[in-house]
Symmetry: C2
Subunit: 487 residues, 2 copies
């Protein structure tokens, strides 16, 4: 038995050091299979440690299967199917781990003006009110924060608040018992697939939010882009692709900004009603932020037969960093949800849920949204005014400026779209052409899109202050006004 060098000044307990030595000797074969360990007393004497220390080390080895006791005889080394070890398998007994912390890895360089971002500017966020709400929850409902046995669909108090919120902002009458809360829209879409089953095809508007294809396909479901043309979603395309679910954004299509007229909504519901297994996922992601007039009534509101699954998120209207979204299921699907997926825990922390409920019920959310709208309106107006007064004034057109946090800008210049993007990038501006939001554009050159697809750019100013919006417009006009770029 080698005399192990145990370090009594180390922070690592002696029993752990001894365990480590013995284990290494077993793994390296120094202590052979079947060999009997020295008695506890002898080890304690030899190493000048207490019998309790030896006991603890051997118990540990025994629990892990390195040694086994034989009654009234002692501990014997077991046969262990050994494996090549990585460095990381050799547990350092003390000190810091040897794999360094991840460096601040170089994410893509952040542009000065990101006109593709959903982030919101610090100015727009009600820090002090939100902090106060959190504090009140922590002070008044501490026990509620920690328990895990809440309703799998979300805290009842939040689901009530969301029903009230939908009534106030969208004129919707929804049953709080049909609301499901989750940590982001992506989680909701995952749940929808699990609810409706994996054997389906999902139709997605094109141009549209292409990430939806990634999300649904990651769930093992087929997706098909269906052209969004002058007359809305191609009814023929929808029929032909055999979809049983269509994911649409009727109130404010992303990225085109199109609002689905009411007759198309009824047509879509009629499509869903033709077959029992057909559903519509109504993605209402920023409808509260409509800048002019009342938000358009939802498909869900005119859905008499329970074919529309309504989803919404606080990513745009509150902040993306909070990860809160919700859906309202038709009653028969809600019953199915409870039966089929009721075992899932809600994915949003109790703290966030309870604070959000208070924030809504106290009217703070409504006031916050009004403020976001005011800021958005100012940003939009300033941005448009600057461009209209610039050298580009005869080469620009706007669309969808009323419907929410983004709108469309047409740049009638002689540059290729890629050159526009490159020049903008040099000027510190990130923009993406509408074409990038279409899977069909390359085939089709977007001919069917309402106003053509060429040289249209979705613009989001939500991450900017008004001053920044002004600067962005100036920078954009300047970089595109250089000689030779006008058509």
């Amino acid at each position: 038995m080698p005399a192990y060098a145990l370090d009594k000044t180390s922070l690592t307990p002696l029993y752990q050091q001894l365990y480590q030595h013995l284990r290494e000797d077993i793994e390296s074969g120094i202590l052979k299979v079947g060999a009997r360990l020295p008695s506890r007393r002898r080890l304690a004497n030899d190493l000048s440690v207490s019998p309790a220390t030896v006991e603890a080390a051997i118990t540990q080895l025994s629990v892990e299967g390195y040694v086994s006791p034989k009654p009234r005889s002692g501990y014997y080394v077991n046969a262990i199917e050994t494996m090549p070890q990585t460095d990381s398998a050799k547990i350092a007994a003390t000190g810091k781990r040897t794999i360094p912390a991840n460096e601040n890895r170089s994410f893509k360089k952040k542009p000065r003006f990101d006109l593709t971002s959903n982030d919101i500017s610090n100015e727009s966020f009600p820090f002090s009110q939100w902090t106060r709400t959190l504090r009140s929850v922590m002070a008044e409902e501490p026990e509620e924060l920690i328990i895990g046995s809440g309703d799998p669909c979300g805290q009842p108090v939040l689901r009530n608040a969301l029903a009230d919120f939908l009534y106030d902002t969208r004129g919707m009458e929804v049953n709080p018992d049909c609301v499901v809360v989750a940590s982001g829209s992506q989680v909701l879409y995952n749940l929808c697939v699990q609810l409706l089953g994996h054997q389906m095809t999902i139709a997605i508007e094109d141009p549209g939010y292409l990430r939806l294809h990634s999300i649904y396909r990651a769930n093992g479901v087929e997706t098909v882009p269906v052209p969004l043309g002058k007359n809305g979603l191609s009814r023929q395309g929808l029929e032909e692709c055999g979809a049983s679910l269509v994911h649409v954004m009727p109130s404010h299509q992303f990225p085109t900004g199109r609002v689905m007229p009411v007759n198309e909504r009824y047509e879509l519901l009629a499509w869903a009603n033709e077959d029992d297994g057909r559903y519509i996922l109504e993605d209402d992601y920023d409808s509260e932020l409509r800048l002019q007039g009342r938000p358009v009534p939802t498909l869900k509101t005119i859905d008499a037969l329970g074919r529309a699954i309504y989803t919404n998120t606080f990513t745009r209207s509150f902040a993306p960093g909070f990860r809160i979204a919700y859906m309202v299921l038709p009653e028969q699907l809600m019953n199915l949800y409870r039966r089929k997926l009721g075992f899932y825990s809600c994915t949003v922390s109790n703290m966030t849920q309870l604070a959000l409920a208070r924030f809504i019920e106290s009217g703070k959310m409504t006031r916050h949204i009004a403020k976001v709208k005011t800021n958005s309106r100012k940003n939009r107006d300033t941005f448009i005014k600057v461009l209209r007064k610039s050298d580009l004034c005869n080469n620009i057109e706007f669309a969808g400026t009323d419907a929410g946090l983004h709108f469309m800008l047409h740049l009638d210049v002689e540059l290729d779209e890629s050159e526009i993007v490159a020049r903008a990038e040099e000027a510190g501006i990130r923009i993406r052409p509408l074409r990038d939001y279409s899977m069909l554009a390359s085939k089709n050159s977007g001919g069917d899109f309402e106003r053509g697809i060429d040289h249209w750019f979705p613009i989001s100013l939500s991450s900017l202050t008004e001053t920044k919006a002004e600067e962005a417009a100036q920078a954009l006009a300047h970089c595109l006004s250089m000689s030779g770029s006008f058509s």
Copy 2:
């Protein structure tokens, strides 16, 4: 044109009232398809409202597709495919929504002593320290809280903290770049299926955490219970079921409390190494809470070839209400994750992530866990002592009392398991027999389980204080000691 009664004292804006009247008349056919709306000026005069009010109402109708403008002519009523309307489709112009808030629906009555719960007692949770941490995050990193463009796998600062935490509590050397944070273990398992593909079979220990079957099956994946016998997971069962993923809890199997010996760990790794597509999901859910000795080294630690996906959660060690779990992927799977699922946003709010990172790095988590262990040890010791001194003293046996927050109790009484559960329930105690955690038990009567399955009950005392643990033991002894129940 009927003279609409507009209420100037109403909180509903006039334009909205007018919009509502016009829309109803269009939907009911009073305003016929193709009819021209009265001019804006005439409507304004007739109704004694401003032209701007009329303009706003008509714009709204136009946006929604009820009417269309013809240049220099006015607005005309469109053809609308009408649908039967539900009451909820008629948007009430004012007042509260008519569907009431959900009542405090009667969840299953909460027992006085829930010995099946994962909740933690208020005593165990460090409210003031956690609140202080949250406040410091809100005060010092407000901008970080709201942005949404963070790393999809979790904030780097948290992933570093988790790597440090795993080093300190588990002796693991992990690369922070291989850590993925999510809002609960269930979300992680969903992601694992999406990562490895839906065309697989997953083997699950039996007895085990049966909810795993529900989770994986909801993802469209097949699951097979594999018996956990005297010699661990049946190797034959594992081979025969054709699984490519096996979900195991080596450090502290739920609910049996079994610790997987090291030779079984190597055997399992050898199984995974036999085929490129095979992986082991190592569910290490409460290993930090091992009550005696150092936690057992993980499979991941001895996994040289990258077959082990390590998962852990703060549900047990912190509190279930926070929804934070994480996994450590082998490097090749991490690369695949970034390529295949890198589009997902992290499902935990920035606030929780940043606060948790601080809580870990400041050493508060380690101290908290030490306290939870002390409490658990006290609860366990008191519970066992009371039962050993009770009339039941000759009819009880304990197993797995060192490994974490639950242990096993054998009740050698003449009552059926269902009678034991019923008597306990009457006495305010919720317990469940081990049999309830097995899909194979009915066929097999659990004969292969290490000590048999009959009359074993997993016991969790985490939701109790020491006094309650004492009372629970007394109540259990009393209700089972009534005449005729001894064997």
